[in-house]
Symmetry: C2
């Protein structure tokens, strides 16, 4: 067998690889970032919480498998419009103690958070505040951290933030997305100007105005616009100490 050429390979010569997807499903609930977790029912890591995921079937791409799993775990009917982003692939030998598993990780962003169906094969499923996520099964802590990093970076230069919002939203809600994911406060007037100055980021809903939960002036409603990238980027305030 020659290592380079895939067509000299005997596909049954080696122990097969299993290919799975793992999902970091993120949403905002009550102003805090939450993650969808499932409780494992079997060894290894029985009783531990883990990211939802499952096997890629023989006729599926990883993206298709991820979307299928997402629908199964959340119970959402239409999962086709949701933002799904491939993060990276985790392939260390020994990730799973019983066989060779290569996992393609995805991040999914949900606007509102339906309670997970819970049914299916996991013991239970639930939303957990990102801050409270304890040690997860396998290397899922790392996957989750990578997902958080990636989403935070994406907010700076893409229109991704609207994926956390319902179809119509206020600028205050959009700002909360940024503040929650980044863990920083932003100046409202400046945020507003920046967003409105980016063509195609949001577009106003003509008649719309929504009460923001009782108190305060009703806010104007916006929809996600056609743009996907932010130029120039919306940089998060430096935490102190520049570069690396």
């Amino acid at each position: 067998m020659r290592g380079h050429d895939r067509h000299a390979y005997d596909k049954y010569a080696y122990e097969p690889f299993a290919v799975t997807v793992d999902l970091a499903v993120l949403t905002l609930r009550a102003g805090a970032l939450h993650v969808l977790l499932v409780e494992r029912g079997q060894e290894p890591y029985a009783g531990r919480w883990a990211l939802p995921g499952g096997f890629v079937l023989p006729d599926e791409s990883a993206e298709t498998a991820a979307r299928r799993e997402l629908a199964e775990e959340t119970g959402l009917k239409d999962v086709s419009g949701l933002h799904l982003e491939q993060l990276r692939t985790y392939s260390e030998p020994g990730r799973d103690p019983r066989m060779r598993v290569v996992s393609v990780a995805f991040a999914a962003l949900l606007p509102h958070a339906p309670e997970p169906t819970g049914g299916g094969d996991a013991l239970q499923a639930r939303w957990q505040p990102y801050e409270d996520v304890g040690p997860l099964a396998f290397d899922h802590d790392r996957i989750l951290a990578d997902a958080h990093d990636r989403i935070g970076a994406d907010l700076e230069r893409t229109c991704l933030a609207t994926a956390f919002c319902p179809p119509e939203f206020t600028l205050g809600e959009l700002q909360q997305v940024y503040e929650t994911v980044w863990g920083t406060g932003l100046d409202r007037p400046n945020f507003r100007r920046k967003v409105l100055a980016t063509p195609g980021f949001v577009e106003p809903v003509p008649g719309g105005a929504r009460l923001t939960g009782g108190r305060g002036k009703p806010a104007a409603l916006y929809r996600a616009g056609p743009a996907t990238a932010l130029h120039p980027p919306l940089l998060r305030p430096p935490r102190e100490g520049r570069s690396a």
Copy 2:
């Protein structure tokens, strides 16, 4: 079999997946971006050019496999310091007409370009100017385009550019990296200031000065500094037409 839980899975129940790595190996030669390609010797796509790559062995991570393949294809002795970046994973059924292949793609950046060894199993291997790359085998055109996009974006906010440079380099050489990958011209004075203003991006080599090829004033030499990220980013000039 339940789709969710990987431990209910019979690893021999399905046709196995093969896991490979594909490498987009990029370098600068004579001021132009070049890609390492190999010519395929077997069907499918016999005689077509393709990205180098190969199977992930049972005890390897994808990263390890990529580094091994890189060493084999380039003939470099020490490949441990080179920048290798995981791009994404390509998993569409039908990528490879004969079996199910999931491929983890990497981009590799080389400072100088040794002629590829050519030996091994491919018919031949060579550096090809990025602009002249014709239709490649499999979905490698797309992988290569994704690699180029990613590297271009990385230059904006990481210190990656030094990975294209030898251990000691001039600011003119560093600027050429940006100009070549982005395909734009940059203002030298401004580029210089920006780089020097970013702490840890480059550090001067005390005694060094190199002739830039005969003509012109000898340039000061720099080394890559400890920083990995650029804050604030070094944005490429907008091509005309913003956002979208």
